[in-house]
Structure formats: C-alpha cells, structure tokens
C-alpha cells in the first residue's frame, strides 16, 4: 500500500516537473534586465530551500537519536543529509553559472556563496565520518554528536571574505 502511494506521488511529481519545465522554458518571457538567465532561479532558490529543510530535518533527527537511541532517527538523519547535499550542490552550481553570466566570474567570494560552500564541506565531512565507522551504533552516536556540534549560527562581518560591509551568516 505504502509502495503504491509512493509510486503515485512520484508520478505526480514527475508530471508537475515536466509541466513546470515547459512553463519556465517556453511560456515565461525573459526578464528585462537579466535576460533569459533569470530562469536559473527556478532551480537555484528551491534547491536552497530544499537543502536547508534537509539540514534541519537531519539536525532534529540526530538530536532525537542522541535522546532516544533509536537507529531509525539515525537513518533519517543520514538520508536527509545525502539529499540535502545533492540539493546544496545544485544550489552552488546554479549560483556559479548565474554569477558567470551576470558578474563575469565563476566564483566571487560573495558572503552567501562562501557560506554555502562551507556548509557543503561540513556536511560532506559528516558523510565521510559515517563512511569511516563500521559499527552502526558507534556510527550513529558519533555522527549525531558531530551533527549536534554544528548547531551554532554565526553572524560575521565579511571583510576578510569579500571586502564589503555586509555580514555573512555561517551556520555550522
């Protein structure tokens, strides 16, 4: 039953995706200042939100594992991180493509870009850590602690990063 529901949901999402692609690529007019490149935001921004949602899910699941010691939470944390990492990669790459066309450079050391890269590296490290531990309980415990230690958010002045006066928010 659950499998059938998943299949139906998957098919619905597939149809919606195709319809949206058609609308984005063929129906919508170009933006006045940016031209056709603005269409990348239809991927870039949702990918960011999906990645953040996955990271929050993984954080909650890891915290729940540390409290309840139920391996199901650990499995949720790992799956959410893997999916989040893929979305974060989409977010990074589309951001770079947009930057290349709009600013003329692939990587601008913009505060948000740098933050996104740091986050990506941190969560990649989480998966590497998991891969290096064989025992499931030890793996769940250690990776849960690692995940929990990135709870803190920092708002930093960006002078060393970009020279601008804006701030960068580093979620670790």
């Amino acid at each position: 039953m659950t499998k059938n529901i998943r299949l139906v949901l998957g098919a619905l999402v597939g149809i919606l995706l195709l319809r949206n692609l058609y609308v984005i690529l063929f129906n919508l007019p170009d933006e006045m200042e940016q031209g056709p490149v603005y269409r990348i935001f239809y991927y870039h921004l949702p990918a960011f939100f999906a990645a953040i949602l996955c990271y929050i899910t993984a954080l909650v699941a890891s915290s729940m594992y540390l409290i309840k010691k139920n391996l199901r939470y650990d499995a949720i944390a790992m799956s959410a991180t893997e999916v989040g990492l893929a979305f974060a990669a989409v977010n990074l790459v589309t951001g770079m493509i947009w930057g290349r066309i709009s600013w003329g450079i692939w990587w601008a050391w913009d505060a948000r870009l740098t933050w996104a890269l740091i986050c990506w590296l941190v969560y990649f490290g989480y998966l590497m850590l998991r891969q290096a531990i064989d025992d499931p309980t030890e793996r769940a415990k250690n990776s849960g602690c690692f995940r929990f230690s990135r709870l803190c958010r920092w708002r930093l002045p960006t002078k060393p990063l970009s020279g601008g006066g804006r701030s960068i928010r580093v979620r670790c």
């Binding site: 540390l66 740091i118 590296l121 941190v122 490290g125 590497m128 850590l129 290096a132 531990i133 030890e138 415990k141 250690n142 849960g144 602690c145 690692f146 929990f148 230690s149 990135r150 709870l151 803190c152 920092w154 930093l156 002045p157 002078k159 060393p160 580093v170 670790c172």
Partner: protein, 222 residues
Amino acid sequence: MVFLQIAAKDLRSELRTKESLNASLSFAVVILLLFSFAFDPSSEAVAEFSGGLLWLVFAFAGALILNRSFARELPNDCLEVLIASPVSGAQLFLGKTLASFVLLLTIEVICLPIFGIFYDITWIPQALPLLGIFALGTWGMTILGTLFSALTVNLSLRELMLPMLLYPLMLPALMAAMRLTTILLAGNAIVGNDMVWLRLLIGFDIIFTALSLALVETILVR
C-alpha cells in the same frame, strides 16, 4: 581537579617522547618557509595578511598535536582503562584539552619570532595582546579539536578525518583570530568595530567549551 593531573600526565608523556611536539614544530617551520616561495616575503603586502599566514601555520601544526591527543592512549588499551576509571568524561576531556592547549601555545610562541624574522614583521610592542589572542584562538581550536579527536580516535583514517571535520567548523574562530592578529601585527590596537571579532572569539570559546563538555560523555561511552 583531576583534569590537571590528566593534563600533567599527557604533558609528561609528550615531553618524554617529544614526538608530536617535534613533528608539529618542524612542520610549522617548513610551512613558514614554503609560504616565502609563494609570494615576496619582503613586500609590504605581507603585513596585510600576516595574521592569516600565521594562523594557517598554527592550524596545520595544531592538527598534528590534536591527532595525538586521544590516539596516544590507544596502545595497551589505555583509553579503555581511562574511560573505565572513576574519572568523569568531562574531566578526562578537559585534561586532554589543557595538555594540547599548552603544547600548541608553546609552538605558537616559538613560531612567532621565526615568522617575525622571515617576513620582517615587528611583533614585540604588541607581544602581550598577541599572546592573549593566541590563547583565545588556540583554546577554540583545541577544545573543538580534542572533541573531534575523541570522535575519530578509532578510525583508520583519523589523520585525514580530523582536519576535514575541524577546519570548516572552527572557521568563525579562525577568521576572528586571523583578523585580530593582522590588526595587532600592523601596530594598531583592537578598538571600535574590530571589537566584534574579539567578542566573536570569546563567544566561540564559551559556546564550544560548554557544548563539548555536554557531548563528550556520549562520545566516550562505548
């Protein structure tokens, strides 16, 4: 005060062999030397990123010290015995952090004059504030590094895993320490807007000390 005894034990054991002390000190000097090939060491621009250079050296040397923090106890199952002893995980962790802190700070204090000579940087007038920044930055690095050292102690790839986990996470402290060190090495005082970096560094130390002490029991329990 058991943590002081654990710190003294670690320091005694390190001073007998001097393996990580010698390795990280020579590694730090080699990196200082290598940097001089990447750019002109006599140029005025060096002063603008001197703090960054210095803290990169400390971060690389620190990883070597921190890797040994818990790995030192692996032969003869000493770690198991320490965990089974009536010493609490927090005391054990604090002791190990303190020992690594002293070792790393020693390396930093030796590296600073060498850096001054190689890159023609005047640091003596700012020696005391610099020492304060070194202490704050090093505490942030060692508290987080010792936690991850406990986390990765049983991994075969621990030498690789520790820097990979540590560097991105300690970025706020590293950035603050780099910025503050650059300001001091340029002969300026930390005032006005620059105080935000000092507050950040202190905040990082407090938050991660509390967080590490809360997590370490969970990590050490087998």
